[in-house]
């Protein structure tokens, strides 16, 4: 290849590398807010501090909930239509409608046919099995995840994190990244609860030992000691099974302070449908107690003194102001379609992140300086070529990471350090080969050509196999390991270019252009 052409390519790559590495350099200068700079290498949460959460949406619970609601709806309808049935039972993925002996109901006719949109029916004597269609179940699962994403985004917005990230991962998982998060506990408190609000009537005549298991249910009110954070007692309530209303009609929620005892409570206001419904419910149950149930725990159960027509309700409990505030945000953002489970949490404090950056950088600096010194000492001028190529290599890695806006983690930094140790291998292979050739021939020019030529195949084989190992690591998804695999892969590819092309170019301009070449400094 023509030297000028080669030099041109190297120059273009160098300029491009500097161009793409520059934003990263600028972003991390003192006094610069990194967020104002685009196309830079981002620091991973382990380096800048923050929280990484991998949560699972329990989508099967959302499917069960739909089946449960359908059962209630169907039961109500059968009662309204005055059909003689025994019961509507719910199993894992289906409903069973049991009719009285000899009675039948044709589900294909109005008003029952709407149930067959989601369910397949299979009659067997008095029993009719209704099973949820598989594509319907899938639709419910998918929408549960996208709804959860929406709700969680709203809740997280209230944390005031400047660049939060929520991403769907796999089928049922959401990865949340909150860089710079300060209050870890508050984030978990906001993200964790499903926040399903339900209104149910209390049956004051029944006790937990004597209640009708078909129509009633026992739920508990928990009493916590605020100073030791221990559960003191659980007060049982017997509630009508029927859920009169849920939190879906909440238009707004606010924290207010009760003037009588200065305790905070959460005031809810419903939208117009909710307000009408709430008025109807309270009018029918004047004199009884209505339990306000949040995530299956009774918050309070005040007496309904008169019909409440203003569309307002309040939840009082023994809240601290902060708890009331959390509840307010959670109720405003709406409930999650299914409970969630935290699969993985990695939270790093900002100061630890700074320490890690410092340690990573110092091992990077000292490791590379040692390698450079060795190379120059051992291979003299050729070693200098290799050293320049190595520095080029590091700039190239940073520019590639920056161009893709990649994220650098602590293991990722280790990957770069490692690349430096291994990148010189290509040069070592070439230089050793040239030395061998020099023993065989008097012609340094031929030795250079032979050295590069013969070493090339070995370098290719060796690097490709190392890439395989790095690729095998990429399957670990988003974790810190991926950062390592990415920088290692980029480093290997960049090192092939710098070791083979750039070093060769130096040999070309320093030695091969000379008309008389007697000795190599290698």
């Amino acid at each position: 290849m023509d030297i000028k052409f080669k030099g041109g390519i190297i120059l273009i790559v160098l300029i491009a590398a500097l161009y793409y590495a520059f934003p990263t350099y600028r972003a991390y200068q003192p006094g610069v807010d990194p967020q104002t700079v685009d196309n830079k290498v981002n620091l991973g949460l382990d380096l800048q501090g923050g929280m990484y959460l991998d949560i699972e949406i329990k989508v099967e619970e959302a499917v069960k909930e739909i089946i449960r609601r359908t059962a209630v709806e169907l039961e109500d309808l059968l009662i309204d239509e005055q059909i003689d049935f025994v019961e509507v039972r719910q199993t894992a993925g289906s409903l069973i409608v049991e009719m009285e002996a000899g009675k039948k109901v044709n589900l294909e006719l109005e008003p029952y046919d709407r149930f067959l949109v989601q369910f397949d029916q299979q009659p067997e004597g008095e029993l009719t099995f209704l099973s949820l269609k598989e594509d319907e179940a899938n639709r419910i699962r998918e929408s549960a995840v996208s709804q959860a994403l929406e709700v969680l985004r709203n809740r997280i917005d209230s944390l005031g994190i400047s660049e939060p990230s929520l991403q769907k991962q796999g089928a049922n998982n959401i990865v949340i990244q909150l860089p710079g998060l300060k209050d870890r506990d508050r984030a978990i408190e906001l993200i964790g609860p499903q926040a399903v609000l339900q209104f149910q009537i209390v049956n004051s005549n029944a006790t937990p030992n004597t209640y009708n298991r078909l129509t009633e249910v026992v739920k508990y009110q928990e009493v916590w000691d605020k100073t030791t954070n221990k559960l003191i007692s659980k007060r049982p309530y017997v509630l009508d099974k029927k859920i009169l209303m849920t939190g879906e009609f909440i238009r707004d929620a606010r924290v207010r302070i009760d003037s009588r005892d200065n305790s905070p409570y959460v005031a809810l206001s419903f939208d117009s449908i909710g307000a009408d419904l709430f008025a109807k419910i309270t009018r029918r149950n004047v004199g009884r107690n209505m339990a306000i149930v949040l995530d299956d725990k009774v918050q309070s159960a005040p007496v309904i003194r008169e019909a409440i027509t203003g569309g307002e309700a309040s939840i009082s409990g023994q809240f601290t102001v902060e708890e009331a505030d959390t509840l307010k945000i959670v109720l405003r953002s709406g409930s999650l379609p299914a409970p969630i489970e935290i699969r993985e949490e990695r939270t790093v404090g900002a100061s630890l992140g700074e320490d890690s950056v410092e340690q990573g950088l110092s091992s990077l600096m000292i490791g590379s300086v040692l390698v450079l010194i060795f190379m120059i000492f051992y291979y003299r001028l050729a070693g200098v070529f290799a050293a320049v190529a190595l520095i080029f290599n590091v700039i190239l890695i940073i520019s590639i990471l920056g161009a893709f806006g990649a994220t650098l983690t602590l293991p990722g930094m280790a990957g770069i350090v490692l690349t430096i140790g291994m990148a010189v291998d290509a040069n070592v292979l070439i230089f050793q080969r040239i030395r061998e050739e020099l023993k065989r021939t008097e012609n340094p020019r031929a030795a250079i050509q032979e050295g590069f030529g013969k070493a090339f195949r070995t370098i290719l084989d060796a690097n490709i196999t190392t890439l395989f190992a790095a690729l095998a690591l990429l399957q670990f998804g988003t974790g810190p390991i991926k950062g390592f695999a990415v920088t290692l892969s980029i480093g290997i590819i960049a090192s092939m270019f710098t070791a083979i092309v750039v070093t060769r170019f130096f040999f070309d301009i320093v030695y091969l252009r000379k008309t008389k070449l007697h000795k190599l400094s290698i």
Partner: protein, 310 residues
């Protein structure tokens, strides 16, 4: 400057040490396996076992026994306490099992503060890691998968570029390296975590690098000296590439050492695995991969060649 300067055709008889090497490797692996059996399995980090780790920095050197007693009084007997990093850092790592009262709790940090603040008014919770039990199992599977995928790809590539004999001997050497490093972790009672798996795969890539350089030279020398016995060609090839092998090991060890000494506690075990791996990988490409290749060639000579003589 040069060292290991050999005349052309001159070589060290590496293969004459193959029995010794086999005994050495065998003992090394056996010691590791024995240690794993004695410890009833590997000491998994939370990545694989699930649970919660909390890294806490104190303003004064913490007294672990006192802290242990303290947690026990609060009804938390299953916590594991250890110092983390240098004593000068005044840091501890608190390990909680899955489902512990503090566990994935919403109030983990405020609870810990409440417990510890009366004695240590200045403390900083620097890092919290919680891995659910399901994730631990998944990661275990991915780790095994990653190692198998890497080995499979390598076998395929070397078989295509060289011969299946070389492919198999490279794999034997890699499995050897992986076993030695894992064994070393068990012997030294170090935690086997996800980053160690990353280090293992890097070792696989690195050790392979060495092995391939030697194999490449063997292939070249086989073409050059058709009359030479196979053993001699191998010895010659290892000798010719020896200085490169040692120099590259040297530069890699330099940077790994920098990571090990300066990289901080979080990647300490990672760097340690690399340190052991680079050393053992260099050894194995000379004393494991090549002897196995010789053995396989004798066992199943390539078609059309005379069996190698010793």
């Amino acid at each position: 400057m040069q060292f290991l300067n050999f005349k052309e055709g001159q070589f060290i008889d590496f293969l004459s040490y193959k029995r010794l090497a086999a005994v050495f490797s065998g003992l090394l692996i056996l010691a590791g396996v024995a240690s794993i059996v004695a410890h009833q399995g590997l000491k998994y980090g939370i990545d694989f076992r699930g649970g919660t780790n909390v890294q806490i920095q104190f303003s004064t050197a913490p007294d672990l026994d006192q802290l242990r007693q303290f947690f026990a009084e609060k009804g938390m007997k299953n916590v594991v306490l250890q110092t983390f990093g240098d004593a000068a850092d005044k840091e501890i790592l608190l390990g909680l099992p899955t489902g512990s009262p503090l566990g994935t709790g919403e109030q983990l940090t405020s609870e810990l503060r409440k417990i510890l603040l009366p004695q240590h008014p200045k403390l900083e919770i620097r890092r919290i890691e919680t891995i659910g039990p399901k994730v631990g199992d998944e990661l275990k599977i991915s780790a095994v998968q990653a190692i198998l995928i890497a080995l499979g790809l390598v076998l395929l590539y070397i078989t295509i570029r060289f011969q299946w004999r070389q492919g198999v001997s490279a794999i034997v050497a890699l499995v050897h390296d992986v076993l030695v490093v894992i064994g070393m972790f068990s012997i030294l009672d170090k935690e086997f975590s996800l980053t160690v798996v990353a280090a293992l795969l890097t070792v696989v890539g690195y050790s392979l690098n060495d092995t391939i350089v030697v194999f490449d030279r063997i292939r070249e020398n086989q073409g050059k000296y058709r009359k030479k016995p196979f053993d001699e060609t191998i010895n010659l090839s290892i000798t010719e590439t020896l200085s490169r092998t040692l120099i590259t090991s040297g530069t890699t060890l330099l940077v790994v050492l920098a990571l090990f000494l300066l990289g901080g506690e979080i990647i300490h075990d990672f760097a340690f695995a690399l340190l052991v791996g680079v050393l053992i990988g260099t050894y194995s490409s000379i004393y494991v991969a090549s002897p196995v290749a010789v053995y396989l060639t004798k066992l199943a000579p390539p078609a059309g060649t005379a069996p190698a003589t010793t």
